[in-house]
Symmetry: C2
Subunit: 360 residues, 2 copies
């Protein structure tokens, strides 16, 4: 299929879907408060609003908990623009899961009853029983979704999530240093590595322990929640697309480590992450499980007339809020009736409307 590439033969055919559902898991980790780690928020005080504002944007095309569309400090807008355009274009239904968001969005939201994640440099990310709860609630939800849909697409919005992914991958024996992606063209690898080094020094190496213990020490509430939803859907015979970048390789590693059969699991992302020269998504996923294909789609954002969207093709933002996966799902659902170029028009329209709305 045009504009979609896959790491494994026939993977695009294997994940073709007639009635996909999109689940956006919003969460928080105080690790994101470490200066320089993320630009998911116009300034540090706003970072906690990013995920709920993204979720509100998906439903309303505007945000309620903040006055503007979430953006980087220099004004690159949230990839939720892309996600919303893709879901609307293909009539894909949406559910939002609150997995420890620090600010609650004004939308109907599936709550997993979790606290925000703590700063892994200073203390454990989560209590162990909350990891178990996140995974358990996720499994219950995933089973229901698999009964309703032939492809469960799971995206995330959590600032600072590549650092916790780096830490969890390390704890599971996968060296992800200099391989996780970033929402900035200048990937702050050294800072991420030093945060993880502090966390490891604090908690001790737990390479041989369970994946849930790794998440409790070094992860964030998004990971066990997404892993749980995926696990429940897979166990019920469903197919699952993890819609995101290098963070999702940590989810794959968790699922692999607890022994879930992964033949119906894939990752869906943008080419901006898949081809990110400062990261190695394919290598990380392969290290987690050689079985899981990576699907990536070309959104032609470099050809856009909007500077804010062009920036995505220049290494800013790149992915998030399931933008790549939801675009792939839209293309799969509509078959040849939508291409990257057509989707670009819809994204640009969404951009015009929402930037207009935010300025009002």
């Amino acid at each position: 299929m045009r504009d979609i590439a896959a790491s494994h033969k026939l993977a695009i055919k294997r994940f073709a879907a007639k009635n996909p559902v999109f689940v956006c898991v919003i969460s928080y980790t105080a690790t994101s408060e470490i200066p320089g780690l993320t630009v998911a928020g116009a300034n540090p005080e706003l970072v906690k609003y990013t995920s709920p504002a993204d979720a509100e944007f998906l439903y309303y095309g505007r945000c309620r908990c903040i006055d503007a569309v979430p953006a980087t400090p220099d004004g690159k807008p949230t990839p939720a623009l892309i996600t919303r355009a893709a879901l609307q274009a293909a009539g894909i239904p949406l559910l939002v899961v609150d997995a420890g968001a620090k600010v609650k969005p004004s939308i109907p939201c599936v709550s997993f009853g979790l606290e925000p994640g703590r700063n892994i440099a200073n203390e454990n990310a989560m209590d162990y029983h909350m990891v178990v709860q996140a995974f358990g609630h996720g499994e219950l939800l995933g089973k229901q979704l698999a009964a309703l849909s032939d492809l469960v697409v799971i995206g995330e919005s959590i600032p600072g999530g590549t650092t916790t992914a780096l830490a969890v991958l390390g704890a599971l024996g996968i060296d992800a240093r200099f391989k996780v992606s970033s929402s900035m063209p200048e990937n702050p690898h050294s800072l991420k590595n030093s945060v993880v080094a502090s966390a490891t020094k604090r908690a001790g190496s737990i390479i041989t322990r369970s994946p849930f213990e790794a998440v409790a020490a070094f992860g964030d509430p998004m990971m066990p929640s997404v892993a749980g939803i995926a696990s429940g859907a897979l166990a019920a015979g469903g197919r699952v697309m993890l819609a995101g970048g290098t963070q999702m390789s940590a989810v794959v590693a968790i699922l692999k480590r607890i022994g879930r059969p992964l033949s119906s699991l894939c990752i869906g992302t943008t080419t901006y992450v898949a081809k990110d020269p400062s990261a190695d998504l394919a290598g990380l996923v392969k290290a987690a499980s050689g079985q899981v294909p990576v699907l990536s789609c070309d959104l032609h954002l470099g050809e856009s007339s909007k500077p804010g969207l062009q920036a995505f093709a220049k290494g800013f933002v790149k992915e998030g809020v399931g933008a790549g996966g939801s675009s792939i799902a839209a293309m799969l659902k509509l078959r040849c009736r939508i291409t990257g170029e057509k989707l670009l028009k819809a994204i640009e329209k969404e951009y015009e409307t929402s930037i207009g709305t935010a300025r009002r």
Copy 2:
């Protein structure tokens, strides 16, 4: 179809469904604290646990927030037994909505961000903007569900709900005195009427005002939430079954009053409510909208070997947690492969397991 009766010709065919989804809306009204009004809870202190325990029971087959299965003071068990058996038998997926539950269940739960309802005898049930929020969140969710399923079945668990239904129906110009049902064989009509009379004296008659104002003054958070889900699903071209007894006639009245087209809406209940000699479901629904059929199913509980289930056929409990509607949905989905008798076997098995579990 055997064991299902309908008030309107061809209604059973019109609501035949291949992939129904069941939504259980749990809620609370402090009106239930008025002594003698409800037996939905083994004692008055336990009433606030009834809805969340019901929701937990649907997922786990046991409760977490309390040690036992919810029951009346003399041990008649919750109709969630029936709902769970029906959903499991037919593989119908389940979502729970927290619409102002006083105690939060340990399950993944869609939150509408609502407070519990207040005692209508003393004060307004809800702030007006919370009614609007409940309805708005419901509409957003209902739209997504209609895209995933060909029949959205909406049940409820709220103690004291027939009294608030009586009050809202009255405010909307429908005299429901001596017509609402009860979970007791001796329907406390006089007490309900006097509570509503107090509420009307307090708030003044609002017969000419909007349905949302009626809910704010006299209703409970379940009503606008269920009405919103139904409205969203209907607006998206879906079909909706309100799974419950006389409370659902208030929801029909709200939907009619705000001008929603109701040709794809029905009520699904048990024969124990439909034929309740102390109530008049058919009359109330007809007064709310002549267009909405009532489907009712015979669960043959009088033939059960379990005294707790036999009681349902003798005027105790009768309905709740969408027991009747989910049973109808199961029969519709499985066509001739399940009858009332077969379902009874599944319900009895659920009864044995859960009463066993609760005693452990």
